[in-house]
Symmetry: C2
Amino acid sequence: VVGIIARIVSGEALREVMRRIFEALGVPREFAEATADALVFANLRCVDSHGVSRGLNYVEGIKLGEINPRPSIRVSRETDISVLLDGDGGLGPPIACELAVRVTEKASRVGVAVGAAKNLRDVGALGYYVSKVVSSGYIGVAVANAKARVSIPGVASPIVGTNPVAVGIPSRRRTILLDMALSVVPYGRILSYASRGEEIPEGWALNKLGRPTRSPKEAAEGYLLPIGGYKGLALAMMVDLLAGPVIGGPTSLEIRGSGPYTQGGLMILAIDPAIFRDPEEIEKDIERYAETIKSLPRDPAAEIVIPGEKASRCFEERSSKGIPLDDVTFSRLVKVAEELGVDVSELWAASST
Amino acid sequence: VVGIIARIVSGEALREVMRRIFEALGVPREFAEATADALVFANLRCVDSHGVSRGLNYVEGIKLGEINPRPSIRVSRETDISVLLDGDGGLGPPIACELAVRVTEKASRVGVAVGAAKNLRDVGALGYYVSKVVSSGYIGVAVANAKARVSIPGVASPIVGTNPVAVGIPSRRRTILLDMALSVVPYGRILSYASRGEEIPEGWALNKLGRPTRSPKEAAEGYLLPIGGYKGLALAMMVDLLAGPVIGGPTSLEIRGSGPYTQGGLMILAIDPAIFRDPEEIEKDIERYAETIKSLPRDPAAEIVIPGEKASRCFEERSSKGIPLDDVTFSRLVKVAEELGVDVSELWAASST
């Protein structure tokens, strides 16, 4: 959370208000629910950059006619083990949810399935859709391409998006879920430094000429650096090809639109772990793995985190104590709701700081 | 290539000599061929760390009884879309080849397939097996776990292996193949710096207490750093879980054996791109992508490389001009061959430097 915490609100209240906002904009109830759930999922896991603040961007996009609130999701191509959806320029979360559901359902019959969606807007946190696959008992992998914002030194142009990768493995004892962008830091981090007037560390970004910079202002007009230099760039290119040309969607460089809700394509894979091994046995070994990793010798200050562990801890805490919303997001939320005549009494009923 | 170039030999000669060496050690002809081909594939693509020098390590492993030269590859579990192989402690390349062939064959019938292999020794370059999937017209993805050698600051133990990831997309016009380890640099790079007595750059490695070091000697006894810090570590953990617990194999920390030919498990996925789109259309868009990327504004010194491009250029060059072997590898090769009574006249017939 950036800025001053204005209110602490419950996940339920936030989900309810966001759903009503989207419904007031003409989004069908089921789609509004999926969108609200995806956004609050991110807030509950401390990924506030992908939470309701992003949902408020979707509101702008719908108002500007750049996001279709009532898309006709169409099946472009389908087999027993695959599906390709055309999202009709729609709000991302319901389309990505539909994709996750269809891929999971196919994997449940065949053992493995892969699906993709194109022609949709921002889906938010990719991990949300993988967590849907995982909660049904399947290994989930997802990749997506985003508008180009990542480059390497010496190149005076963005090359690829932050093109996230998410991977999850079912385990009832703990959440094993990785959801990461392929840039060293997210673009939002640069903006936070800019708002505080602080220099950014070396290795985060380039200016628009492709030169390393520590100025957050220059970086905001420039490009993010990929993890591992050429390695992260190469991985982001492969994601770009899978989520773009392979499914007939745009590459990161081809994604059009300027609002903070653009999206390329999305691919989701689901694998039934039972094709390899009794899931109960896998879970036992995952638990042993986590325990081994956590008990390795280390400095008291150092921590080894299992993918998904921090977000799960946050989820536990925010599920019981509520989600802190910063003043900018909170007042934006209330303003949007009031404009649309949406009841926000649940938000005020929640505890303030 | 490290050290002085002793000879330049043709890929054919090298493949032939390596095959004879493995046959002389009791490896069945088909397995010896697969192994020689995997090793020379790496040399031809300038990945000399995974070429014949590594094959000479396999020779040691077979002599020491730590690699089974004649494994009975067993199918542990199989469905229409999946297969799990038990490699019987065998030489890695033939087992991984068998896996790639079976997964490709299943994908050709169903559209997607996933397979894994456990209980095998070092497979060499993971990209070799993905390239087999890709050359049959399928998208290939592979992950493997390796003995733990990667850690993060403050941890006085390795946590994960360099756990490589390989991804390839079919395109007759150019090779699109990523094959990368999740450490910033390979362990061999540290050893090269040590042999030259040069300091290593910051951000490559830790000493055995988990502190950043620029001494290659300390680094060689310590740990490699993952790409993107916690991000690369998290990705390497997911690979570790997929190639370990999910298939019933060891995690990076559990891999036993000390020779330079240990291996955890291996997972390969094959996807028929036609489930999404006409492959001809995909190829056209990939070509356009590559052209766009290559024409972005940049400094003359900067180069944007498509995954697989450098290795393909090397392949063209070494296929026509031959493979340069350093003096250490060349004399080791000749010595091993002579000990086994293997004819190496092809190597001498090749051009020297």
